[in-house]
């Protein structure tokens, strides 16, 4: 028993990166996808969550291992091994995609505030200012605590899922028995689930936060557990979002376009509480994403380019870092407030760039993890390489198909 507690305590000190990363993964665009999936196709897409979770674990485990072994971020390793061109264009892509992500998050924040009866013209500037100040004036410790508390709010989705009183037998069956429909919209949404779950920037974020935490090789097994727990939590939350919308909206044939519409649609069917939970959780997820995505982007770009970076640096000491961070937040908030700004086009662009980058990022990850000079004895085993290459190939092919489908819509 003592041994167990000792291990549990050790796990608590190592955990964090995996769980925080996983939670941030369910940002505004993720929640939107799951809400749409549940409302449009009921439980029939639930089965995709299991393979997606497995793929997510495979990818994140490799990234986490690199963070532990090298103590460096993914952007650093790509710059050092593949040169400045690869790093530059990858980070340029990341910048565009993450700018889109931030806009999506501010849009989610604005929409949830409007449901709660607050004007977006007041709340978006307030939110942006608060986020900006948190980083410019705050310390890393404050940020991490804010994030951990914010992660708890995701429990709201689980509660609303249970309150919806779904037919659990049917839910269970849909979860394990694939029910493939040869319908264009169905297939696009299925791939969309992969696209919002396995994102390029997440891999960068994960490796950096593990490297920063300075986790030792001896504690690597605990980090792996952190990854598995984190990935599972992400998809448990996704599961409950789909279940809620599938149970309450799908039978009535209510189609929704985004997460806030789902919250509004829930109101007459499930009462104020469900709508309230949905909007608060959406606000939370959006603001979390709006903190982390710009911050992470500024970090990777500066690290790879050899520019000064850090939360506790001033504008004069780290002009590029603060500049990128401020630019993303300022421009994203402005786009939300300008009437008639090309919001949808920007999101589509962001999704396309994300989808195009993912195969490159995944291939870089596998190449790096099999590099003996970098990883020493921690390279992939042959069996694991077969698993990871096939995962990466499937994910890459599907995302590229998703991009093609977004550029040339069938419907």
């Amino acid at each position: 028993m003592r041994g167990f507690w000792k291990k549990a305590l050790l796990f608590l000190t190592v955990m964090g990166p995996g769980i925080i990363t996983a939670n941030i993964d369910n940002d505004a665009s993720g929640i939107t996808t799951y809400s749409v999936v549940g409302a449009r196709f009921g439980y029939s897409l639930l089965w995709t969550l299991i393979p997606v979770t497995a793929a997510l674990i495979v990818v994140q485990e490799m990234v986490a291992r690199m963070g532990v072994v090298t103590g460096k971020g993914l952007a650093d390793l790509i710059r050092e091994e593949f040169g400045v061109k690869a790093a530059f264009y990858l980070l340029l892509g990341l910048f565009i995609a993450n700018f889109g992500n931030t806009v999506a998050n501010f849009a989610g924040w604005a929409a949830s505030m409007q449901i709660l009866g607050l004007s977006k013209y007041a709340m978006v500037p307030i939110g942006a200012a608060a986020i900006w100040l948190l980083v410019v004036k705050g310390s890393y410790r404050i940020i991490e605590n804010v994030l951990l508390v914010a992660c708890l709010i995701f429990v709201g989705y689980i509660i609303s899922g249970i309150m919806a009183k779904p037919d659990w037998l049917e839910v269970g069956k849909s979860l394990v028995v694939p029910d493939i429909k040869w319908d264009a919209e169905y297939l696009i949404l299925a791939v969309g689930i992969i696209g919002t779950t396995i994102t390029p920037w997440m891999q960068f974020y994960m490796q950096s936060s593990i490297a920063e935490k300075g986790i030792k090789k001896e504690d690597y097994r605990l980090t792996r557990l952190d990854v598995i727990v984190g990935c599972s939590i992400t998809d448990i939350v996704s599961f409950f979002i789909i279940v809620t919308c599938a149970t309450l909206l799908y039978p009535h044939g209510i189609r929704v376009e985004d997460a806030s519409e789902a919250a509004i649609a829930l109101q007459p069917l499930a009462g104020n509480y469900a709508a309230l939970i949905f909007s608060i959780a959406l606000a939370n997820a959006s603001i979390l994403g709006a903190i982390i995505v710009p911050l992470a982007t500024a970090y990777y770009i500066c690290e790879a380019m050899g520019w000064e970076a850090g939360v506790n640096k001033s504008f004069k000491e780290a002009p590029q870092f603060m500049g990128i961070y401020t630019l993303i937040i300022g421009a994203a908030a402005a786009i939300i407030l300008i009437p008639g700004a090309p919001l949808v086009d920007l999101m589509v662009l962001s999704a396309i760039v994300n989808g195009l980058m993912l195969p490159f990022v995944l291939v870089f990850i596998i190449k790096l993890i099999n590099n003996k000079k970098i990883m020493g004895d921690y390279t992939n085993s042959r069996a694991y390489n077969i698993i990871s290459w096939s995962t990466v190939t499937v994910v890459a092919v599907l995302t590229v198909l998703f991009v093609v489908a977004s550029v040339f819509p069938i419907a």
């Binding site: 040169g83 410790r141 300075g214 050899g306």
Partner: protein
């Protein structure tokens, strides 16, 4: 004389190399660097041809410039080259790697390498760490320059001369310092600590290992607790013991308390008995009490000596102890009977006894006193140090104002003390 003037490494990478007949023998893949006097030089160019690496020795090169690279040899006469870890390759080992810019206490990246002709050789003259290097590698240096010219501004050059570069160890090419090792020791320990904590663990450890004992001890006390443990674990126990011996007992105890018990024990065994006892004594106190904060090295004299005698003794004794603000006056039973500030001791009539000049209204704390209470006391009475006495009135240690500042403004990840 193959190289005249200067060029950047990125300007020749991937360029074709021609033989006398004008056939391409290969494309530049990398450059083999060897030690030279005064600067390292290029000994050979590694070429890439049909998935094979070839080596072209510097003497065999005819022309070496941005525009043309050619050799005396004919196609097929070049020997093949096997990649070796021990060779220093300019592109593989230097480009894109991190450099610690010690003067600016920041980490930059080697964006490009500047070469210059010197007595017929190509020597490495500087590392480009600026924006120009990035733009050049991306192939848009000229374009960006003329674009900026229309706005009447310019891209600054940012080069670090190779004479300032100091590779940390031959195997570890990933990091280099911009000053010599002697200059590293002149850095402020807090700056050194910042560098160590900014670079990846392996490189930080290599840097730490190279410091002399005294500098290492100073830098170690400035590091965050988990980094301290990492650094100590990365070196030999004997050297770790020497470094810890050099530290103040309270800082030493803080470092040891963060180590695994076995490691700490092993290090303590290598430390001189007297110092080890001082440290062990401190390890027994709770972290957030006066006992956990205090330093048990202090200056104490009997009351029946003169100020002159005390001052003479002080000159010798104070070498070991820092910082000193007060002299404690203790009786035969080591009970604290008075304190004397340095100022009072120096200004006093040299023939007066300490008993006559000391202050007897004492403000003391016990080892169990909470650290915040100590802080309040120091703040309220404007003290610079406060003696710690046990229940028998025996002096156990001293807490100085700098210890209290760490309590009020803690560094990230405050330590937890544990018994060894």
């Amino acid at each position: 004389m193959p190289l005249f003037g200067e060029l950047f490494l990125s300007e020749v990478l991937k360029k074709p190399v021609f033989d006398p007949k004008g056939e391409i023998v290969g494309r530049v893949h990398d450059a083999l660097v060897v030690k030279g006097d005064p600067l390292p030089k290029i000994a050979a160019v590694i070429l890439h041809q049909r998935k094979q690496l070839l080596i072209l020795r510097w003497e065999q090169i005819n022309l070496f410039s941005k525009r043309v690279i050619s050799t005396y040899l004919n196609e097929g006469e070049l020997p093949s080259y096997e990649l070796q870890e021990t060779d220093l390759l300019a592109s593989r080992d230097i480009l894109d790697k991190q450099i610690v810019d010690v003067n600016g206490v920041k980490i930059v990246r080697a964006n490009d390498i500047k070469l210059e002709g010197y007595e017929g050789e190509a020597v490495l003259i500087a590392v480009d760490v600026g924006m120009r290097g990035i733009l050049r590698r991306l192939g848009i240096e000229r374009g960006s320059e003329s674009l900026l010219k229309t706005f009447n501004s310019d891209i600054p050059y940012n080069l670090i001369a190779w004479t300032y570069m100091q590779p940390l160890s031959p195997q570890l090419n990933a990091i280099a310092l911009t000053v010599s090792r002697q200059m590293v020791s002149d850095l402020h320990p807090a700056d050194l600590a910042e560098i160590i904590s900014q670079v990846p663990q392996k490189e930080g450890a290599a840097l730490f290992e190279n410091l002399d004992i005294e500098t290492a001890a100073d830098a170690l006390s400035e590091l965050e607790p988990d980094k301290q443990a990492e650094m100590i674990k990365s070196i030999e126990p004997e050297k770790a013991a020497d470094i810890i011996e050099e530290m103040n007992p309270d800082d030493a105890a803080d470092v040891l308390s963060d180590l695994p018990t076995e490691v700490a024990k092993e290090i303590l065994e290598h430390i001189e008995k007297e110092d080890a006892e001082d440290i062990q004594e401190l390890l027994h106190h709770e972290e957030d009490t006066a006992g956990g904060l205090m330093n048990n090295l202090f200056i104490a004299y009997p009351p029946n000596i003169t100020a002159r005698e005390a001052l003479e003794r002080f000159r010798k004794d104070a070498e070991e102890v820092e910082p000193v603000y007060y002299v404690f006056v203790v009786d035969q039973l080591e009970k604290l009977v008075g304190v004397l500030s340095l100022r009072e001791m120096i200004l006093a009539d040299p023939d007066k006894l300490l008993a006559d000049i000391m202050q007897t209204k004492l403000r003391t704390v016990t080892p169990e006193t909470d650290e915040m209470v100590v802080a309040e006391l120091i703040s309220k009475y404007d003290l610079v140090a406060v003696p710690v006495v046990d229940s028998d009135g025996v002096c156990a240690g001293v807490i100085t104002v700098d210890d209290i500042i760490d309590v009020i403004m803690p560094r990230e990840g405050k330590r937890k003390r544990r018994k060894v």
